[in-house]
Point group: D2
Chain length 133, copies 4
């Protein structure tokens, strides 16, 4: 079972800063696109999970920005499950541009709590846990 996703995003003008490169805060929105696509590939959507009362707020992140992505670049966000453990789930990300597939522009990890709609810790739904673990 694939626990990877590849998401294409093109850097929007709205996402580029005065140096003409993608502003770093936008990477975190792209990583969320990656998580969302990864779950979709496993047959789940965050929207459905939320309707079932499962939420995944971020509690921790680390990111390294090695080279810049410019406005209009087409990027490949590669997302993978890092771990699933109790009420925590972790993901890793690589941001690639096709001119140099071996050297990601950026790498990151995020750790998420799994909670209910009130923010109380709640284990992942069993069906999703099975798919991710």
């Amino acid at each position: 079972m694939k626990k990877l996703a590849s998401s294409l995003v093109r850097v929007r003008y709205a996402e580029a800063d005065p140096m003409g490169v993608a502003y770093h805060a936008n990477y975190f929105a792209w990583f969320e696109v990656g998580r969302s696509d990864l779950l979709r590939g496993l047959g789940f959507t965050f929207r459905e999970l939320q309707q079932r009362g499962f939420y995944f707020p971020i509690i921790e992140t680390q990111a390294r920005f090695r080279r810049s992505a410019r406005y209009d670049d087409l990027l490949d966000i590669r997302t993978a499950v890092a771990f699933v453990r109790g009420v925590r789930v972790g993901f890793t990300y690589e941001v690639h541009r096709d001119d140099d597939a071996d050297n990601p522009l950026a790498t990151a990890t995020t750790v998420h709590a799994t909670v209910d709609s009130e923010g109380r810790p709640r284990r992942l739904p069993a069906d999703l846990h099975r798919m991710l673990a």
Copy 2:
């Protein structure tokens, strides 16, 4: 009773585009800051109104961008009530920079529906209606 608000916002690096000026989509987030401050000045907050089941989705906007706001500029968003009528409320905005107080950088209007949490038309709460009208 004052039905005006003046909101200071400084253009963030995240809001500036490759030309070094504020990306236009951000003005609409600033206008919402203006609406929010206007209501706060009347003793209301959108958050409390939402908790009471009142929402104000935008249904229409017009905006003119006359001159650019640059990164780090300090702007004054001047918001006023344009009308309150049935299940509609309208606002006007002027974006000023202090180097030329008479000529706004941008002007805009927004029209909002007043609805409940399910999106059904719902008249403004009577206390707020009295304050705005």
Copy 3:
């Protein structure tokens, strides 16, 4: 020659508001995706045009938001050239969701100045003008 573009965007979690629907300011970033794709379809990119010294700041917009787009919805942004005239170019937009292709969620127009890197009026490059007009 096609002067239309169809751009698919999926509503990101980062773009959804507390009502669970796409925050309206994001539509303006999507419209820019539409303009960008329309030009790309004609063999141009905004990035190349900028490198040649042509910029297209927005000077005016009108938008109507008829129904909400929700988080995770897949939207079709349909962009068309409205007019090209002197140092002005206009575009129209319709935002569609496939559950009701005949009734756009939103419609809008934008008018742009055509300027050089210093913001001075500058006619569109002849090759691009020919393609758009």
Copy 4:
């Protein structure tokens, strides 16, 4: 010499997500507000530094999100210089809400390269280095 800044930001509706809390990517824009205010307090602005040919792209970040900030919350972003070393400068951040001043909602660090307009390593300007170190 103060090498700290305290920046007040109110969570905008545009920054709140479907759970009603501030979307995490926005914290990184707020940290940049903090850096900007810290430099301003020392008599510098990023805009002036950029005009002098100094840029500070982020190369690394770590962040922990402990509790959520809600829409309309007033937050205090406390920024400090962590280190200045060769062509690197580091900052730390704490995000506070006044209902619990001792426990930050979030903490983070960012590390930046100091480069020229072409992205080549360039030591901080001597006057700024003296102020920060």
